[in-house]
Symmetry: C2
DNA sequence: CATTCATGTAACGATAAAAGTAACATCAAA
DNA sequence: TTTGATGTTACTTTTATCGTTACATGAATG
């Protein structure tokens, strides 16, 4: 399939709302920054709202973060938009009559769960505040490389 | 897209070769255990061979592990079949004229690299030997739950 | 040494998850 | 009340993965 950009786009949306809080925060304006379309932005914003990360109001282009950026981790966003989606995937169609085919699914599930836990632990250490700070730092470096 | 099962199938192939070393190790026999097809098995075996994990011989159904199972990690297999494929994917189509769209790609690449490193570190701790042992343990538990 | 069967590899079609698109109900604001 | 926003669903398009077929190359056996 196509690779999922939902996490990347969701971070983009939250960072945009935080950074451009005095500008146009309509789904159309955000979609222009993401280079996507308003429906996708609204879909992702819906997921973020249901996860308690974003406050929106139907009919009004005034989304706000529901928590401080420092209190929102990359893992929170990942869970919000990817649900229980896993990074690694077991092949659930193997021959149950074979010693290997009949047991490898559970074996891999356990192993993949360890990898997933490690990845999620790292995601929990990365806050939206850090990502926003990084974006602003990169922007400053671009605009005045010698001035800083 | 469809979720990739290459890592799962590659582990399956290596475990099958190690466990059923006295049986039929043709790509057709292995494909029956994976419930896939011989061409896919041969493709994955080719990747494992190029990565130095498997020794094969054209024309002869006699594949052998190129290293001890304890010296093959899940990460080795991951690298062999997924190449430099990443677990998380940056959206590389964002508006470069926006503060957010113009900087978030590099910001996310750095963050995702940390997550990738954490996941890979965990993969390095999981050996093929452990996976094989787990498969055999589960098989024993199935056959004689009361006897053990 | 020819037959048989194996691997190695490439090309092409099928499948399925994601993103794109369009439509419309609901709500806010002037 | 008119305009324009969000919220949501249904459908189409896209594309990475997997399945299938084909065939060149090599091993093994009589």
């Amino acid at each position: 399939m196509r690779y999922s950009h939902k996490l990347s786009d969701a971070v983009h949306i939250l960072a945009y709302i935080a950074i451009c809080h005095d500008g146009d925060l309509s789904s159309t304006a955000i979609a222009a920054s993401v280079e996507s379309n308003p429906a996708l932005v609204r879909r992702l914003m819906g997921a973020l709202r249901r996860a308690g990360l974003l406050a929106t109001q139907q009919g009004s282009a005034t989304p706000k973060l529901a928590r401080q950026p420092a209190a929102i981790s990359l893992f929170d966003i990942y869970q919000a938009v990817e649900g229980t989606g896993n990074l690694l995937h077991v092949d659930d169609k193997t021959n149950p009559h074979c010693i290997v085919g009949g047991n490898i699914q559970d074996t891999l599930r356990a192993a993949y769960a360890e990898v997933q836990t490690a990845a999620e632990a790292q995601m929990k250490t990365i806050t939206l505040a850090r990502l926003i700070g990084d974006i602003l730092t990169r922007e400053r470096a671009k605009r005045g490389p010698a001035a800083d």
